[in-house]
Symmetry: C2
Subunit: 334 residues, 2 copies
């Protein structure tokens, strides 16, 4: 592992080796996580800083990755603005309560201990870099508008296209809640904040420009003003990297549908994170290592490059494959 | 309408106006189609050339588009190689019978009257250009491996990554069946063949190169050798147009996740088709027309450009919006 390389890459500085972490590295694929979840619900985990930091530490210890990622859920900050989130088995977060438009919204912090969780981890493991995170406003809105996920943004898009004023208001209020979550994490001491606007790629570049780009740029800019680098994550957006570029994030986390060398040239003065296909990681260790070597070869010596998957680790992934993968990224060979 | 422009665009020649048709223009959104489906099942429609040509003609008459598209289903050619397709309400095609690997496969043509359907339409409407179609081998394989769709190719990818030899054999046998379907359509007199490898974009460029590109290139090349232009359609692939380019199709039909002007420069000597977001078309006539005008502006004067959606017309689309859209593409304004 190389915590120093991770910290340098987050500042877009040159590194000795390539630093690595995995989205959803603290997740169901891992026995240690499943054991914790036998004792606690997701909500309980999020409410108990000591448990959060235990969950965050496990992959760092077991996989040899170079950063921990805060354990939380992208919908929880909606509780800052008076909504309620319930985690339903097999469905995920279900959001209820007064909708975030057509009303005065007040941001009520400290509903759950985000800052405390980061601090607890920092105390436990002062050397390990910590990535904080929050959702992107559009993706979080999709959970407000639809029970279960609206990954193709079918419901969300209709709302955006037909009720523009309420859409803008919802995005603005949700942004305030998400910014508060980021603020608490930065106060707690995270090294960077990753914004997960995961389903953004359901939209065309034209629709994004006409309805959402300005609000999203403002949001990313507000998070950056907290003083830490911002990693912007989305999927399905590889066809319009030039639009992503306008968001002015420090680092872009890309899915597997793009050759990183090409992405790297469009986003030439920015950091890059990604982008191994998580399905390949779960399906075949051999192909996983082959593609990882290929990515390493292409990105070798690129300042501000962080190895990661193109999306979260899938539940059917073998922990041993991830360990071998981290070793491949760090080491010279397979 | 301008049938002449459509024929010229299919040959990558300059056109006076911009020709237009819509994927799935003969579909559930249209009352005339729903009426036919009250009388006949999908299989029955496909078996009756006169009914097929009635279904193909309706959108040409009602929307003013510049081409008809053969009505069929991408899975049906599997019956050429001894499999059976059943259309289940709310699920779609369900494939059964001996799998297309580990056995000698014989292509038995004339299981259903593809050639006859094209000929029947030609007799009815000799002037209207006809687009034929077949599935892409990988996408059709996904229907063999999974009941219902495997849009993220989760099952298909696992098969590909872990049983490479059988995968290659399946792709080769399915390609033979699909080629037969294309052959019959070309004999019947289609003006072009569109290959729908719709879910290709689930794969990374690296995985495609390592497992599928060569077989797909061979397939596209075999279809081209039938003597008509090939339009290659896929979704989620805008991040690696340079890989698509290697398929050597005549025209690329792109989804809405890319600015066509950029795509147009990567695919500079090829035709381009697309790419208005079908969700926008179903959700908002105003935004639909705005984005269509934007696409027109960008692609004006581009030889070999055909206006289309980025994927099929959605069932909740208003027929009147499509009519207005075709008029916008043809006319000077909204």
């Amino acid at each position: 592992m190389s915590y120093r390389d991770m910290r340098r890459a987050l500042r877009l500085e040159e590194t000795e080796g390539i630093p690595v972490w995995f989205m959803r590295q603290a997740g169901r694929y891992m026995r240690a996580y499943r054991d914790v979840r036998k004792r606690y619900t997701i909500r309980q985990v999020c409410m108990l800083p000591d448990v959060v930091s235990e969950v965050m530490e496990a992959p760092v210890q077991r996989l040899g990755v170079d950063a921990a990622i805060l354990f939380s859920d992208i919908t929880l900050p909606l509780e800052y603005i008076g909504m309620h989130v319930e985690f339903q088995e097999g469905i995920g977060p279900v959001v209820s309560g007064p909708v975030p438009w057509g009303r005065e919204v007040e941001v009520r912090p400290d509903v759950f201990p985000l800052r405390g969780s980061v601090e607890a981890f920092r105390k436990r493991d002062p050397d390990v870099p910590v990535i904080g995170f929050c959702g992107g406003p559009l993706t979080v809105l999709s959970y407000v508008l639809s029970t279960g996920t609206d990954r193709e943004l079918e419901v969300t898009r209709k709302f955006m296209l037909t009720r523009r004023e309420e859409f803008m208001e919802a995005i603005s209020n949700i942004s305030a809640a998400l910014l508060q979550a980021a603020r608490e994490q930065v106060s707690g001491g995270v090294d960077a904040v990753q914004v997960f606007d995961s389903w953004l790629g359901a939209l065309s570049p034209s629709t994004i420009r006409n309805f959402y780009l300005e609000a999203l740029r403002d949001f990313v800019s507000s998070v950056r003003e907290l003083g830490k680098p911002v990693i912007f994550f989305s999927t399905g957006t590889s066809g319009y990297l030039e639009v992503l570029r306008e968001l002015d994030a420090d680092i872009y986390s890309l899915d597997w549908r793009v050759d990183l060398a090409r992405a790297s040239s469009v986003l030439r003065d920015r950091g890059i994170q990604g982008n191994l296909d998580p399905y390949v990681v779960s399906a075949s260790r051999e192909e996983c290592i082959r593609e990882a070597m290929e990515i390493k070869e292409r990105m070798k010596g690129r300042a501000g490059y962080i190895f990661n998957l193109g999306h979260g680790v899938r539940p059917d992934t073998d922990e041993e494959t991830l360990r071998a993968l981290a070793e491949t990224v760090h080491g010279g060979g397979a």
